[in-house]
């Protein structure tokens, strides 16, 4: 995992839309890849076909932050959504709420998902039109040049992983003996779970 810097500062794309689903973030025809790279080209493809959409505004080229409405990333579990956003240079998304699976996928890819209430989102959407926004992960606060200070909550484990760039699989493998113990107990109590018939190998 590559964590973001503790401070993310720059222009924020004021998308604002609610229920942005992962088919909108990256349509299915882009999923036929076997790598994680190059998906930025297809990111938000259907929105980008609409003239005057915020992604086409020159000021927002390479903006590190996206501001959206409720339930961002709903729908499919495709991690390609997070990869596409990373590929277009995004490091953080600010929204009132996120779908559970997207929030997990974003985190695994070092994208910070910041939850703020709608009234603060509205304020940021208006400021972001002309000014940058700053996210301070260490202090869990979003600030603007106009004295706004919006505190946000984040899971302490995720915060630590993001800042320190911890590899989650390594972390889990340090609990190897606990996993083995669980497997042994499970084999005693529910032995049939370990013996499913194989069709072919």
């Amino acid at each position: 995992m590559t964590g973001p810097a503790s401070i993310i500062e720059g222009r924020a794309i004021p998308l604002g839309l609610k229920n942005v689903d992962t088919d909108v973030i990256i349509p299915a025809h882009w999923l036929k890849t076997v790598t994680r790279e190059g998906l930025g080209e297809g990111a938000f493809e259907t929105i980008r076909q609409t003239p005057g959409n915020p992604f086409d505004v020159e000021d927002f080229a390479n903006a590190p932050i996206l501001i959206a409405g409720d339930n961002f990333g709903c729908g499919s579990s495709r991690e390609h959504a997070a990869w596409a956003m990373l590929d277009m240079g995004l490091k953080a998304v600010i929204a009132p709420s996120f779908s559970d699976i997207f929030a997990g996928n974003a985190f695994k890819n070092g994208i910070l998902a910041v939850e703020l209430p709608q009234n603060q989102i509205d304020r940021l959407l208006s400021i972001a039109q002309d000014h940058p926004v700053t996210i301070d992960l260490e202090n869990q606060v979003v600030t603007t040049h106009f004295q706004d200070r919006f505190q946000f909550e984040i899971d302490p484990f995720r915060k630590r992983c993001l800042i320190e760039g911890l590899d989650e699989i390594d972390l889990t493998l340090s609990s190897e003996s606990a996993i083995t113990k669980h497997e042994r107990q499970r084999a005693n109590a529910l032995p049939w779970l370990d013996n499913p018939r194989r069709i072919a190998v």
Binding site: S77, I169, P196, V201
Partner: protein, 485 residues
């Protein structure tokens, strides 16, 4: 562990909490749990990057025996073998490469693999229960959000991203926080012509697409007790459309009978022990849910979607709503965009909406009961002239075979439907099955998102029986009008 489930019975718990507790490997100080995964289903779209990362890190798959791989998303649904028995090559080079990667990765990592031309091949969420790989009380994951389907047999099943696929392959666990609990209780009995699909669409319309976010839904009440196992799979399948990562229904005798003698199900003395444990899997009498929604089954009508979010649904007798009928200004704006995309005007009767395409299939509605329900309505009818393209895509080769034994395929083809090979197909249009821009599709799938069935495609979600009715009349139709005579 399962055996401690009985000793920890002091505090009343929900079914979800019981399954969760029995799979906790380690509980961290911050509340994160390392959760053991009993079953991992793998398909070609969300796994190649995970296998590649394992290779780079020199890691192996911890429990290939608990893993099952099957291709489904990219496969064309046209014949896969030529007359001479040779495989028909896949025209789309990217699809072919992704399918080839799974075919290579599975044996390299020792994972059982169901080949594209095997009779057992099908949509991963149809295959799991059908093979008895998905069992009550287990934790099941797959790199696909419709994994919630397996909750229909009483499993805790949820979709994961590719990094999590890699994590499960390497460790057979996931680091997770426990979700909140939500009860959706449906009292009473569904009316004639009202199906499990109508019910779940109605539920999503009631709670909204974010209604279950952060929660695991348990569906309870008479309507689910009366429902077939396949109907339960349909309901749980669309939990994600209500924002819940998982949905489940307590297993009962119907589930046990459904699973008996399936290839991966326990046998002999193991079967008896399994059933004994499965009978303990239900929510305790005094257990609390963080959220409860109660729905009267009698109020549920055959339901269709009119917009571009699965919460945009209405009873078939209704009309397309106006943006102003919604209180939330953001929703009003979303509805305006939806109606524009869908080419619909507020006030239009849903039964006046003509469709050019009909798709019967997807992990939501492609099991044998779904095909029977559609064939039942279609029998003796043909599709309307304005219906240009109508296809049936069975959920698996075994469903297809069973349907052919019952003669359903002949009913479909006589009605003007194409009878296809199993796969995800036009649900998400990753394979060649797409709805053309600007055209409408009456679809038994699960998502009506913008572009979901192809760029510019307009999706109306409905049940298999309602899809059949739409094919006959060429417009959205209350199936009860065709079957009540």
């Amino acid at each position: 562990m399962p055996h401690t489930m009985r000793t920890m019975a002091s505090k009343p718990r929900t079914l979800y909490e019981k399954i969760w507790d029995s799979h906790v490997v380690e509980r961290r100080e911050d509340g994160t749990c390392l959760l053991y995964i009993d079953r991992h289903l793998v398909h070609e779209v969300t796994s190649p990057q995970a296998f590649e990362s394992l290779r780079i890190a020199g890691r192996s798959v911890r429990r290939p025996d608990l893993t099952l791989a099957v291709p489904d998303h990219n496969l064309p649904t046209t014949p896969r073998l030529a007359r001479d028995g040779a495989r028909v090559p896949i025209a789309d080079a990217q699809s072919a490469a992704q399918l080839a990667a799974l075919e290579r990765n599975a044996p390299e990592f020792g994972i059982p693999y169901i080949d594209a031309v095997a009779a057992e091949q099908g949509i991963v969420h149809v295959v799991g229960p059908e093979q008895g790989f998905s069992l009550p009380g287990t934790t099941i994951v797959c790199g696909d959000s419709h994994t919630a389907a397996h909750g229909g047999v009483g499993a805790l099943a949820f979709g994961i991203g590719t990094s999590e696929v890699e994590h499960v392959l390497a460790t057979q666990t996931l680091q997770l926080r426990q979700s909140r609990t939500m009860e959706v209780r449906v009292e009473g009995e569904l009316g004639p012509g009202v199906t499990s699909k109508d019910l779940i669409l109605h539920i999503i319309g009631t709670i909204g697409t974010a209604g279950g976010t952060g929660h695991v839904i348990e569906y309870r009440g008479e309507a689910f007790e009366r429902m077939s196992v396949e109907g339960r799979l349909t309901v749980c399948n669309m939990s994600i459309e209500g924002g819940a990562r998982a949905g489940l229904i307590a297993p009962d005798d119907k589930v046990f009978e459904y699973l008996r003698d399936r290839p991966y199900a326990p046998t002999g003395a193991d079967w008896d022990r399994a059933v004994e444990w499965w009978r303990s899997l239900h929510t305790d009498k005094d257990a609390n849910f963080d959220k409860t929604v109660i729905i009267d089954a009698a109020e549920v009508e055959p339901t269709v979607s009119w917009g571009t979010s699965p919460e945009d649904v209405a009873a078939i007798g209704g009309t397309v709503p106006s943006p102003e009928s919604f209180a939330d200004p953001a929703k009003q704006e979303a509805v305006r965009k939806s109606l524009d995309y869908m080419g619909l005007e507020a006030g239009t009767r849903l039964e006046d909406i003509a469709v050019e395409n009909v798709f019967i299939g997807s992990c939501t509605n492609s099991r044998i009961e779904d095909l029977r329900a559609a064939a039942d309505v279609l029998s003796g009818h043909t599709k309307a002239k304005n219906v240009r393209w109508a296809i049936v895509v069975p959920g698996s080769g075994l469903v297809k075979r069973q349907a052919e034994i019952e003669g359903l395929d002949r009913i479909f083809t006589a009605a003007g439907f194409e009878w296809r090979e199993p796969g995800c197909s036009a649900c998400l249009a990753m394979n060649p099955d797409k709805v053309p821009p600007g055209e409408r599709c009456a679809s038994t799938s699960n998502r009506n998102f913008v572009g979901r069935q192809g760029p510019g495609a307009r999706t109306h979600l409905l049940s298999p029986a309602m899809a059949a009715a739409a094919a006959i009349t060429g417009r959205l139709t209350d199936v009860r009008k065709l079957t009540s005579t």
